[in-house]
Point group: D3
Chain length 340, copies 6
């Protein structure tokens, strides 16, 4: 059981029931989630000692966010309290050719306005094995970018392995700003996760011939870009999930990894989607789990892909499957037969 | 922003939640809708000045129906109040090879017993650009058929473009009665919408070699029938949606149009169905919107098909997508990717 | 209208709403069901005089189980009252490659601890045409196995046709125990229903080359096994449903039957699954209905397969379709078109 | 266990959840009920052999109504099938000083258009002990009034005790019409139930000094009116429930009975209301049960009052308490303490 | 039908179902509301031409807020679109001695950051009869305070009657700031609504001997303060609702008015509370309606008190009763009897 | 922050929504709770380090029970895993004079069959300040009674203060058995909580002149019994909550305490009940919190009474109020006014 630290934003997610449009909804389903929090929950579900570090307001909504993590066994002792509000995102779940619609209301959140002084990084990283962050947190504000770098420095000072999920969010910052901030942070990173769009928008690596909306993808450009990334930043692994968006209801889902020597493309799952939000996070968590557990990069990748394929069948941001559930799927049983 | 008038019945729709059978239901989902009302809502969503004309009882259920239209920006000022009751239909949503089941309880409704004296057609059509009706309204009662003709005369007297959706309903009248009534009304019509079954049952045009339950369709007969229809009635356009019923869960969905010269078949969408009721109405509305906006017949058809493909993903009778949503799909992005 | 008796356990079924995991659920959907009770409900829906025989506790939960049967027209007059508790099973509905998860809490139930003295078999079987049981009941306890044999003896004494659904449940007993008990009971059976796994685990017939999780199946071994079964036990018919588990969301569904002379494989349905629990029971009920109604074995099989294909679209254990619904599907209309 | 027949209308009841107004409701709670059906359910709950006679349409909504009765053990074998529709009523539950709002949509129902030829009264009343009807049924239509008299004649021909609940409904008929029809029917009645307003509006007996909306009542006039009623019609008992409407949330609830000699006023309950619809019916059923069971008139009245006080705490039209529940309350325990 | 303008904030209200605490909620009920919007809805329900002026973000959540008003017949044509976000408030409904808990998340809302240039006051007030605002809007921000004064100047320039509901919100500003801003705005006001606490905190009038939490109130101080207020600001009427908080479930509710000559205390209602949020707004709306309709001050006050008593029984911020509902209660019928 | 240990059973609670009877319920609300678990949650909410010790099955239902505790900050590290099942209780919530109905299905639970070897009491009680148990646990089984004594011995060996809530459950054991087992356990107890019925049934102290169903209570007998109890067992405090059951909807609620010298009766609250299950547990927890915090016995009692009065307004077994909420009520504000 490793100690793994993730840091970022946890938001209140308000989604319409069924496939209702916002304007039809008389109620919203309530969940909590966010890129790094989702990773922490997955890792806790796999039996690791997962810490989530953030700042939430001192009010019942902040308390609810923390309780949602605690329920799933995430260690919340380093969550700071204060600031103005918890970020919110509204979600209208799509179907078939109707895309899901996300409305962000996350400005002015407690974590966006937090500073390094809110956290005791020495204690946070004491005995830790891994630190994971995403490109969302530095995008929240300049302060959050500084906070992220402070954490990274503290983690590296203790020799902790660092992973990042690039996660470009065009509603939060421009590609230019992203590249300026993120390029600097890459010096601390060992494992870099991100798809072609992320690689281009966040780090400036230009993919060739990929049209993300076409429902097709090409592995062609990936290995080339991965190589460039390792050459430039010295990552130990570069990894990407590969989503083929046939529609909002059906996706192809696989991933690839590169260690500077070998390029490996995982098994592909065709998933019937219940809830795809958090799919990428569950992949990152599965991969990290595999690597921490000492799996080789292929097995770790397969664990991550299977874990995240399963996530697509679970409502809410969090991936609530167990290690055993993932291993059954990795072992080849995708039949969905009832066990009784 | 054009002024568009539709006239017909709005009903209370009571549907079972999830995929429950009627006998399982402890609650019914409440929606309001009807062929022409659904068209009005779509047109209001696209930014047009849509008027819906009907008669509803002076009671809270009638008020709810009107409020549902007002919420979606339909102009309700010419809705008459009075009569006995609001028509109701019960809906049990099917899945896979189990068909949806509709139970009508619409006899004696206020609109079925309304007369021309309930409406001030001079004011209603003042400044209007388009009038749309369907074959359902004249099927409600002899009085409703007379009312429809009165409206058509008033509309044509003002030179307003008229469209009809033939919409044969075998539970409302026989083919014989339909042909007698509807053939007469075709003199007022500019744009005629209706599939093969409608063309045969409502107007007596015999299609050749089509088996609507086989899940396959043939474009063969369509052009021939369309030509006959234009020859006989002088329509400007004849249009039909084309539904391939693979199952209650999955349909192929496209459309074709003919202007006496050119026959055009649209792109086909394979839709995962959330709610197919109102699919045809959303197609009519999209087509009308395209024609009013000055699109050529192909682009108008594609707009209509895309709009109605999206409708299949939305619960309730009304199509609640925006013009921008439709244009994204027409533009080719059916990937359903989340935008964030 | 035949009198048909089924005997076994009825359980309280508690399932999570939507696709929630157990840990997410703030409420459970409440249904009642069980292998033999499900058969009784189907037969009552087809117009037969179906009796369900069991024992339930004298408390409101037992009363609810009985009321659920009565609502669907099952005759409940021979249900004994007493004992400790009603068996429960918890159900977490899967999707895509995530399997449904069943947690049994059925030990110590009233029926598991019932004895023959709780029932007046003479009255129960008076005028009856058919008796159906499954391999679940004898698996509940030694007492339940004795009770089952007592019922079988009473039924055969009156010359009643007997069917069994082998239904191996590995959480209830071992294959060894099953074979010991069930082999003895086969002497009373006329119609034996069970798939390859059942045939092997319950009766010891070894199938060859079938991997039930692979999503593929082979008819190869079936005929051979069926022949062995008839040779050994003298069944009039041996029958099996054939499930191809592509995923928890999509299954292929067909069946085969053998009468010692002819082997027949039915039409295959590709079903989009709403709820697959009770699918096998609905097949057995449809087959029994067909045979009682005097259909030949092929038509009876097709009736059973169509009935159970439809069951997969209905929430809860019970198959709530009517005879007419099944006949429409048998007649070839799987289009799921709305009738209106 | 006596055989008791009730005849009348069963309706689909659609009520808003919580305290929502109609215009807020996105769903309606579904129940079935009606004056005489409610009485039948109560009597079945008390262990009697209760028959409900009505006519419902041959469609799934009619089937649901019948199933709701069967679930609660009412014998439905004499329910005729056919006609146009099931009557509906919409219910908006009030609170505090906001009254509940009922919208009827019951015209043209199957029972309103039924005739005596739909029913085999000889079989219906064979071996029956009691027949109960209300003033609602004859108010539905002239045909329903004739049907009621036909049933009454058949019942009296067999010497069956007859009870009526006068139940004036001003939305169904005028006082003049009511008096004309009902006065004639009183010749068949043994036990007459009705409050002051009913006595005046239905039978023309003028109460003195009662203002039903004032939240107060006076026993003064009751005995006098009851005496007049017995003098004129020779009833064995005249009975009335006494509701003190403090508000839509809190009522005082008692009853009085007179047998021509003694006037008795029951214990009064102050009820916190969950659902008051069907309160009067549950009182009638409790009283009838008491009289059939051979209780003296005071004890029968107390049983009826306690039964109906409990009904006010149960959602839906039907009173679902058991005989034991009523007896506990009659025995004096109104403390509502949990038993565990 | 008068034209009445209100201006202020409309918020998304997210409330827990039933009496759940925030930490228990898996869903939030969705409503929209705010002090001035609530007044507009009430006035529209009474048949007036009510305009609500605000600014909402150009996103689906803003659209939902506008649609909620349109549904209830409020004129929304002058609602500006733009800015950052829609204000939110979270509501946990209390019961008995547990108070409701409100968590505001309203900073940075579009209206808080709007300026006078967002609105065409000349058009807005064209032909208007009345303008209503509250002390909440100027409390949102300095800009909102300036906006309010700009509106007031425009209204007074057209000779429009102006009313204010003082509505002190201690979470929005201090008493000092409130007095500074609001004292200046009082020059435009004709009708001033506010209770003792408002009078003190917003305008500096010191009440004597009132303890708002004691569940008792004293009319003593009111007349004295009202006189001071009229002396200082020249109001035509000073009005206050009077809430006696027995508990979160039961309140006494009345009001008083003073015109410089006569002090009048209304009838008092004891209300069983379903939802008390918006109670004060519904009072203001009822009073305004009464005054506009030409009632004398006593009758107008009674209309307002009855209207707001009824509001306490309706979920959501908006008072959805009709003019007829209010008049029935004013007429003395608080019995809550079902009309049927 | 004290370390407090509680040990006992945690059950799955399945309750009908609203005021539905079991037979009406299509879903059950899911909560987890039990006498000692409820105490642990309260203490965690007040900021203490609360440990709950039990045994749950190794299945998802057991996991859910543990997660529910973890969510509310209870330390679950000493919960053993194994055994057959989690106990269940079904709850039908009453109203007015209809009592809530509890159906237990708790036999054969993991904790009922646990033994001392499942727990490391040395670690459990290491550094603990307080141990609380109830009379329910020893009633579960002889093994559970032995387990309880083993825990008590271990606790006393470390000098830990021990409290008991006598909690007689007549459905679990007889008074004779209870007295035999519990009298022995009293030697370990410092603080004894229990009402008159408990004192009599569990310990044999005969109260005089109390009729628990009469809705009245007499303090008379309490002091006398308390004195006897202290004389016999040497308790430091004897405490009882005092419930006046006016109805299932309204209760009077207070408590009394005696330390051998002074008898004190607390303030009495009249509570409008949302959910009374767990009311006694929340009282015990509040009292324990007060005593641990060093309050004098009167203040501790008032804290306990106020805490438990608030509990009655919260759905589910757990009391979810904060220390601040309780202190506000203790401070005298029971007005339920919204704070905003």
């Amino acid at each position: 059981m490793a100690k793994i630290v993730t840091m970022g934003e946890i938001m209140l997610r308000l989604s319409t029931p069924g496939y209702e449009k916002f304007i039809q909804a008389d109620s919203f389903d309530v969940n909590y989630g966010g890129g790094e929090a989702n990773v922490a929950v997955s890792l806790a579900n796999y039996g690791h000692n997962a810490y989530f570090v953030t700042k939430v307001p001192k009010n019942p909504i902040g308390d609810c966010a923390v309780a949602s993590l605690r329920k799933y066994n995430v260690n919340t002792e380093f969550i700071a309290k204060g600031g103005e509000r918890l970020g919110i995102y509204f979600l209208e779940t799509g179907a078939s050719m109707r895309a899901s619609n996300v409305v962000y209301d996350r400005a002015h959140s407690s974590i966006a306005e937090a500073t390094a002084s809110d956290f005791d990084f020495d204690a946070i990283f004491d005995g830790a094995d891994w630190f994971h962050f995403t490109g969302i947190t530095p995008a929240l504000s300049d302060g959050a970018a500084e906070l992220t770098e402070a954490a990274l420095k503290a983690a590296k000072a203790k020799g902790i392995t660092v992973s990042v999920d690039l996660n470009f969010r065009k509603k939060l910052w421009t590609s230019e700003k992203a590249q300026k901030v993120m390029t600097n942070l890459m010096q601390y990173v060992d494992v870099c996760i991100g798809n072609e769009e992320d690689a281009e928008k966040v780090l400036g690596f230009k993919p060739s011939g990929t049209d993300v909306t076409s429902g097709e993808l090409e592995l062609a450009g990936y290995q080339d870009i991965f190589k460039q990334m390792i050459d430039k930043f010295g990552f130990k692994y570069v990894v990407s999930s590969l989503r083929e968006s046939y529609s909002a209801s059906d996706n192809g889902w696989s991933a690839c990894i590169y260690d500077g020597k070998e390029f490996y493309h995982s098994r592909k799952y065709n998933v019937r989607i219940v809830d795809r939000v958090g799919g990428g996070d569950s992949f990152a968590a599965g991969l990290i789990c595999g690597l921490i557990d000492g799996k080789n990069m292929k097995d770790a990748l397969e664990f991550g892909v299977a874990a995240s394929a399963l996530k697509h069948t679970i409502p809410g941001d969090y991936n609530l499957v167990t290690r055993a559930d993932v291993e059954t799927l990795v072992g080849g049983d995708a039949s969905g037969r009832v066990q009784r």
